[in-house]
Symmetry: D2
Amino acid sequence: MSARSLLTLGVIAVACAAVTATLAQSDNWFPSRWGAPDQRGAANRVTPSKVLEAKNLITKGAVYQLGRVYEAGMPIFGTRHFSLKIPQTFGPLGSNKLMYHDELVSAEIGQVGTQFDGLGHIGIGDLFYNGNDRADFSKPDGLTKLGVENVGAITTRGVLLDIPGLKGVAQLAGGYEITLADVQAALAREKAEIRAGDVVLVHTGWGSLWLKDNAKFNSGAPGIGLEAARYFVEREVVMVGSDTWATEVIPNPNPELQFPVHQLFIPRNGIYIFENLATEELARDGVYEFAFFFAPLKLKGATGSPGNPIAIR
Amino acid sequence: MSARSLLTLGVIAVACAAVTATLAQSDNWFPSRWGAPDQRGAANRVTPSKVLEAKNLITKGAVYQLGRVYEAGMPIFGTRHFSLKIPQTFGPLGSNKLMYHDELVSAEIGQVGTQFDGLGHIGIGDLFYNGNDRADFSKPDGLTKLGVENVGAITTRGVLLDIPGLKGVAQLAGGYEITLADVQAALAREKAEIRAGDVVLVHTGWGSLWLKDNAKFNSGAPGIGLEAARYFVEREVVMVGSDTWATEVIPNPNPELQFPVHQLFIPRNGIYIFENLATEELARDGVYEFAFFFAPLKLKGATGSPGNPIAIR
Amino acid sequence: MSARSLLTLGVIAVACAAVTATLAQSDNWFPSRWGAPDQRGAANRVTPSKVLEAKNLITKGAVYQLGRVYEAGMPIFGTRHFSLKIPQTFGPLGSNKLMYHDELVSAEIGQVGTQFDGLGHIGIGDLFYNGNDRADFSKPDGLTKLGVENVGAITTRGVLLDIPGLKGVAQLAGGYEITLADVQAALAREKAEIRAGDVVLVHTGWGSLWLKDNAKFNSGAPGIGLEAARYFVEREVVMVGSDTWATEVIPNPNPELQFPVHQLFIPRNGIYIFENLATEELARDGVYEFAFFFAPLKLKGATGSPGNPIAIR
Amino acid sequence: MSARSLLTLGVIAVACAAVTATLAQSDNWFPSRWGAPDQRGAANRVTPSKVLEAKNLITKGAVYQLGRVYEAGMPIFGTRHFSLKIPQTFGPLGSNKLMYHDELVSAEIGQVGTQFDGLGHIGIGDLFYNGNDRADFSKPDGLTKLGVENVGAITTRGVLLDIPGLKGVAQLAGGYEITLADVQAALAREKAEIRAGDVVLVHTGWGSLWLKDNAKFNSGAPGIGLEAARYFVEREVVMVGSDTWATEVIPNPNPELQFPVHQLFIPRNGIYIFENLATEELARDGVYEFAFFFAPLKLKGATGSPGNPIAIR
């Protein structure tokens, strides 16, 4: 047997160990570290001290909106839809001739465009965060547990990982898995660190396809895989976001797995995911650490929330 | 002629003067002070220095969510609706058995529940902010001007006016007009002041009827009238919000007027309105000055936005 | 033991026998008589000869619309909703100045107002018509079996049972169970008969509460119970409809049972139900036998259909 | 001047005369022949004698459904949408374990898929059927006049014009204008005639692109132009339908005109249009005269209705 064969065997052994570790973890992934009744997951990590830590990152008063425009032509996953119409004008009312417009929206509102994934969104088989069985809480009029109204404000320190900046490219390729080494190199380049209770935003450049080439945008995505995701779990972050529709790499290098990072983060660890963020201006301006502000819409029993989160430095 | 008659005449004269002033103002209320092409109105007052001013109000890291829960039973105005349903679960996908839920929402999404009124919402006859004629921008697929996606982040200093606290009551009565004297007395009591570029939240206690007595909640509301509203215009605020569905007093003391404060704020002065805010915790804790964070959903061509704004001290 | 006790025992024995019969029937209610793959149920009874039979009932050319108006204020069951809005006018287009309006509807469209219940609507536990398990066909984007698009046209002979006419009242009381004796007496009075492949419409007068007293309308309903329903099953009808929201008596005399007639008709026998029909004009005019025309909207994977069925004599 | 030039001039002269005629007609196209308050237009032509005439065409009891399946992937015009989802299953309820499904639909429900155009759909500038100005009846919560709930049942004699059958082709080309000569030749071939109060269905073969090549389907359509349309007006028909999304030829040979046949039929003459009908089986079976049954959903204040009309012979 050659040295190369031995190396190969070693790689396989490591891979098998990883698989075993994953399976082993599945045996006892609940109750959560915040107790069996908890419905907030890693949002519990947002403490007053994290708020003050975020505050101290505000030095210039420069505000970045991280939400994209919701519009009929935006890329959408699967059979979801987004419809916005303006009904006929109401009025005139009163001697002051009040006229007013409303807007009518029909959409999978927490799962289109810039979208925040709550704890009721993703399950492992029938089990969701804290081992909740979908038969018990997934009801037609809204989730009776794990609804996004429980999350609360995520007002904490944020870190941007500019991977294209690290690589010297404008955009990572679809299907590129951002490795732990990439993450660590980016942190070193940015002289940044990830702390417990932080929000991590992973810039990939994929968002530049938005409305420019929707078909390519939807065809796959660069993103983190299980390796980098486990690192974020260990760092005890609150949320991981990105400028792609999945945050994680699509397709997964293991063709048998569908959105495994979603499962690692959401049901197993109560860590939130924020998709389709506009991270390009933070990357352009080299804003690697910032104060992050977001509170999901309190949509009772919803799986997610639309949003326009704010980064300030 | 008796003294009483003279007094009556005087009141009428003052009233006529007010009406004349109103009419006079209507003669030249556009272009806006930010120029004829402007679509952001008073959001232009949110500057980096206001952000830093807000930052400095954060001393404890205490976060207040100001948004109410969106749910089927909430009070709703007129013929608007809110429907949220959870479709059948998707999956399982992959060997990792990914399951997921979405939510389907149909609603006048920017004009139900906690709602932020944008510049395309309110007109004076056919004219909206900056004199835009609705025939020119009110289109079926979204407003082509004044859409809420133009507003941007409202991250500034906030002031709460606790009027029930001032009056020593739990709740103001429906139809009670909060006067300028009330505003000034509340500011004095709170040792607070309103500065240019601020957000003002007016607590009335009316919000305690939410989901408790929806019929009464919808039947009217305490709130500011034109007098206090003009004061806020003079103070050059960005936005005025409240825990009622109108922010302004309903019905208006002048029975011929329908939502005149909406017209004064939105089309005439580009000042935003935020309705159905949960101000009760700020009042309870005596939080009169705070950092305020909100960015409307970028719903293209929408008249308003749902929200869960954040106050921090 | 007194005679009265014996009578009581006898009643109990009969009741037990009925329960036993019900349970016994449940043991082998599928496959359906039309075979295991069938998705049309009793619509298979609509044959060319039934169409010709219906044709021959047309003698005057008098047409009755049996659908009610769909509108925002109509009585609605549970948390369903109905919203219809007219968007801003499109146009003008071309030198001919084409203008056009659309309407935007959000609703549980097959289950509000006048509504036709398809075979995918009702289950006995997890089992639906032909023993289909909901886990196999109830998918987020539409039922993959038993969708209402499979039903086809119901063009056959129709019979109206005017029970208030029989009783000499304007309206049956909520909770009144129409018995087999009522059905037979009504048929005798009307000189009508029910034949295989017919549609039966049961007029109760309850529909006169529509939009007049929605709260009472929704609070219960007169209607057939299991006894009369079994008779219709034996007569091999295609569909039973009524001017109530349930067609069957609400509440059921047995407080433990919820909509048992729905289960007897739809999953067990493939017989359709049509609710909230406007039967009052047929009753007024004494139209007891007529040609009936209806074809559900082919809403792919839907559980029901709205409709405006037609009766002609 | 050559003979050719003279011919050209002649053509121009005829064209100018036609334009002049059109303009002249526009001067007095209302009130309608059914009076100024009428909201039913040509539906007034459906009389008991037409119903009996239709009845007598039923000889075999053969039923044809003319509606297509409504589904997410169907071709849709412009920015309209169609979303159907199945919410989580309700139940189990009662000792009988009732379970039930609903469906949730959001759509421009009267203007997607198989669609019946009502009198409120189309205007000439601001004027609609009977000269109604849209400012007077086009309201956000529904049209206050000309709503589709006014139409009533269309139960009359129907005639199919199989133009591809006439031409010996499977499908007419997009943009092909069906001429009056085509109509007359088809009638002669079919030994059929068009009578007052009839419904006319124009088969083009274009419907075979449905779900097969949606892009081509939407790119244009064969159909009648103003010439054939005027003939149908003269014949005093109730409705004209087709297997295309416009019924009329798209684009119109006159590039300045947008949907002129819609204007000729709907506002000027109260004649209805039914689009995206499944006419292929009638053509296949040579069913040229038949009984036609349809009643629009009574959607209050709607511009149109979905449908699954029935043809019987």
